[in-house]
């Protein structure tokens, strides 16, 4: 072996029931490098990482870590060997404090009893070093999603591991926090720590990673140095075909005002006024926690509104619950797919038709044959990768789950569709599909609001961009100015920071 690797996986296979998640894959990671792991949703990235960390056992294949044969029977073994992991979409125990969460399984004790003071002090020091503005005794449940993600990162980093796996660490972070994470990564790298970095955000990959390995459908496609491959090549490797246009935005005529908000105020946002037209994609940009989701949740009827008026097609829009909004044609894809999107253990069919059941009644009963037909149609339109619509949503990969969430709102035929982070955790191929759908529906006269923390997406897809800063609208930009290059990422970012 000429190369000096910290982790070598070879011939790893893993099946879940009938699904072959990994087939004879390999992965070689050097110390001190940031190794990107790319692949479509369901390619098997998380599965391989869970095998490395000991949450799953492979069916066949071997691993070598730090020069020694390695096999983790559980996360404890992995942590002992010097591997830690930031898990994808895994919220830590809500009722523990930050200190308790970071030091879970590594508690400070005097003999058998916990030394809470020492642990809090140690944690506080780590938090302060990180510039994380909370006391160590804050409960996790009191933190915002992004802060929780930071705690996860801090926990992983604080183990002094030789290798850290980061499975989509930035999916709930904004630009600023992402940059913060990158500083941390560079620091770790300089100390010789190896990092496996999984993300669907191509820009990040190019910014921080050295090497890239690509998986497709559970197979290993290849490894190469990042500087040797172009973005398009990578995408082709991942999806097995060329993705012609990453942002297939079709410009279409903008129609009448569909929805108008006047002076909306509520928890996390104040005095928000805007209108959105038929055929328009209105982008909302801003930092995480700037109050975009709160605004959308309030419009949709998931949260209360303190004051303000809304109009739909010229008539006042009054809603108490989400059901009122849906009935009137206002629908929303929530940013939190797992908690607000799907009933994982029910079938794709049931999930998809849920909001639009009232229209699929035949007398007292549901017209199940019509339901089946319509769900099959919409899942074909969305290129949903599922063996059958009778399968549980649980069996789908993340991107395909997201498609089911979108499908259910398409079936509800909304006048206004609010998409909150519509492509979070979705691979490039599926992203392009979702974007082209958005274009298609806009062209059919739907008004679309898209909240996103990914600037390329905002800039690539929006007819108009509104930027949030601490609960207020701090800027408005138009597509023509973005296309002409007059409005750049920096311009939008600075208005998100409230500088402009």
């Amino acid at each position: 072996m000429a190369e000096n690797y910290i982790l070598e996986c070879s011939g790893i296979s893993k099946a879940f029931g009938g699904t072959q998640a990994l087939k004879d894959v390999q992965l070689h990671v050097r110390p001190g490098e940031v190794h990107a792991l790319l692949g479509e949703n369901g390619a098997g990235k998380s599965t391989l990482m869970k095998i490395v960390i000991g949450l799953y056992q492979q069916d066949s294949g071997t691993m070598v870590f730090d020069g020694k044969p390695y096999q983790a029977k559980g996360p404890v073994d992995a942590i002992k060997s010097g591997i830690s992991m930031i898990h994808q979409e895994l919220n830590p125990e809500p009722h523990l404090t930050i200190a308790e969460s970071i030091f879970l399984k590594r508690e400070d004790t005097n003999g058998i009893f916990l030394n809470k003071r020492k642990q809090n002090e140690r944690t506080q020091k780590i938090l302060d070093d990180f510039g994380f503005p909370y006391p160590a005794t804050t409960l996790i449940r009191e933190l915002k999603l992004a802060d929780v993600q930071m705690v996860e990162i801090i926990r992983a980093v604080s183990t002094n591991a030789k290798m850290i796996i980061m499975d989509e660490p930035t999916s709930s972070l904004d630009e600023q926090e992402t940059q913060h994470l990158f500083r941390v990564i560079r620091d770790l790298k300089s100390k010789g720590v190896a990092i496996i970095y999984i993300s669907h955000r191509m820009a990040e990959i190019y910014e921080i990673c050295d090497t890239v390995s690509v998986f497709r459908d559970g197979h290993f496609i290849g490894t190469s140095a990042l500087k040797d491959v172009s973005n398009d090549d990578l995408i082709t490797m991942m999806v097995g075909r060329k993705v012609e246009n990453q942002f297939p935005k079709v410009d279409c005529p903008i129609g009448d005002v569909v929805f108008k908000a006047e002076h909306l105020s509520g928890k996390g946002f104040e005095d928000i006024s805007f209108e959105v037209h038929a055929g328009e994609i209105l982008g909302f940009s801003g930092l995480v926690g700037s109050g975009r989701s709160e605004t959308m949740r309030a419009i949709f009827g998931m949260d209360p509104l303190d004051s303000g008026k809304m109009y739909l097609n010229g008539q006042e829009f009054v809603r108490k619950h989400a059901s009122d909004s849906i009935r009137q044609g206002v629908c929303m894809v929530n940013e939190d797919r797992k908690n607000f999107g799907l009933c994982l253990f029910r079938s794709i069919r049931e999930n998809t038709s849920l909001p639009s059941l009232p229209e699929r009644q035949k007398g007292l009963f549901i017209n199940q044959s019509r339901e089946k037909r319509e769900v099959e149609d919409v899942s074909k339109t969305l290129l949903l990768k599922a063996a059958s619509i009778e399968h549980n949503a649980y069996s789908l990969s993340g991107g395909n789950q997201q498609k089911v969430v979108i499908a259910k709102w398409i079936l509800a035929a909304p006048k206004l569709l609010i998409l909150d982070e519509p492509t979070r955790g979705v691979d490039v191929g599926a992203k392009a599909e979702i974007y082209s759908l958005m274009s298609k529906f806009a062209a059919e006269g739907m008004a679309i609001i898209m909240v996103s923390s990914e600037l390329p997406e905002i800039m690539g897809m929006s007819d108009r961009v509104l930027v949030y800063h601490e609960g207020h609208i701090s800027g408005e930009y138009f597509r023509k100015d973005i296309l002409s290059g007059e409005v750049t990422q920096e311009v939008i970012l600075s208005s998100a920071f409230g500088v402009a």
Binding site: S323, N339, F340, F345, I366, K408
Partner: protein, 326 residues
């Protein structure tokens, strides 16, 4: 994609068979039980005894459906035993002591059970209290009320029409079986063919997603506990007619058998998973445990152990046959 549509379809069919096997695999347990009992006691398989079993299961059957719905929304209804007592006492008091017509008495009894089911649902849905806690406490209140109503005394029911509810036959089929079949069909249609049924699964599967999809958690929760109340009321009507006596100490622990039947039938305590055909199988298994032990002549001291072991064993078998559910 690596796999061709063909292999996918084959896999899917296989999956379906496995899932069907998983869903109703408990049916195998039922068949095995029937064979074992029939071998040990040939008289088990006589038409008379089969009708006998079907008649006996009706009370637990109705309770089981109510519990199945509550469990499916992620809750539990521990009041059913007490509801049995309360309805019985109301029927007894109004019919025997106040001379109300039987029909009106039944209406009053079932009505009160419905009301208490509604109150349970209200406390759970409106105040966000845990179903276990609410129904555990309400059960005390409901049983207390039945004691107050009757002063602890037993009331005899002499109305022939009423006592006939249990013993009369329609075309050779005892009334309880007819009631049970009708309720089963209604429950099946409701859970698997209506909007409300879908909403029950959605609320049980992921309440936040259900709300975000426009489902009213409030009405679904209130709905299932109210239905559980109605069914407990009907079960009590059958019970009271069967024993010909109304008293406040009946039904203690009846939720146990109903829960066991629901769970054997594949109802998941994680919420969002249940089928009425599954429940029917579960109800028959529980009924057969009792009837089978009585027919075979298992000593009274061992009956409780046998029952416990059969339930654990069946649930475990179901788990093994149907691994991917969890």
């Amino acid at each position: 994609m690596a796999s061709s549509p063909k292999t996918k379809r084959a896999a899917s069919n296989q999956d379906r068979i496995r899932s069907l096997l998983g869903q109703y695999g408990i049916g195998i347990v039922l068949i095995i039980m029937m064979i074992v009992i029939a071998i040990m006691e040939p008289r088990f398989m006589t038409p008379g005894n089969i009708i006998n079993v079907a008649t006996q299961i009706s009370i637990n059957g109705l309770l089981c459906y109510g519990l199945c719905l509550c469990i499916t929304t992620g809750g539990i209804d521990l009041t059913v035993g007490a509801q049995l007592a309360l309805t019985s006492c109301i029927i007894g008091q109004t019919m025997t002591n106040m001379q109300w017509p039987a029909f009106l008495s039944i209406l009053a009894g079932v009505g009160v059970a419905t009301l208490f089911g509604f109150i349970d649902g209200l406390l759970i849905a409106k105040f966000n209290m845990f179903p276990f806690v609410v129904t555990l406490s309400m059960q005390l209140v409901i049983r207390g009320l039945s004691q107050v109503i009757t002063g602890g005394r037993a009331v005899m029911l002499t109305n022939d029409w009423f006592t006939g509810i249990y013993s009369n036959k329609l075309m050779g089929i005892p009334m309880p079986i007819i009631i049970f079949v009708v309720v089963t069909i209604i429950m099946y249609l409701m859970l698997h063919w209506t909007k409300f049924g879908r909403y029950i699964f959605a609320v049980g599967g992921n309440v936040n997603a259900a709300i975000a999809s426009g489902v009213s958690r409030f009405w679904v929760i209130v709905g299932v506990y109210t239905i559980s109340g109605v069914l407990a009321g009907l079960a009590s009507m059958i019970y009271t007619s069967k024993t010909g006596s109304a008293q406040s100490n009946i039904g203690v622990g009846y939720e146990t058998d109903a829960i066991a039947a629901a769970v054997l039938g594949g109802t998941s305590f994680a919420g969002g998973i249940a089928t009425i055909p599954g429940c029917v199988l579960g109800i028959f298994i529980i009924g057969l445990i009792y009837n089978g032990m009585n027919m075979i002549g298992v000593s009274s001291y061992y009956q409780s152990i046998v029952k416990g072991l059969i339930i654990i064993g069946a649930v475990m078998l179901d788990m093994v046959m149907n691994r991917n559910k969890h």
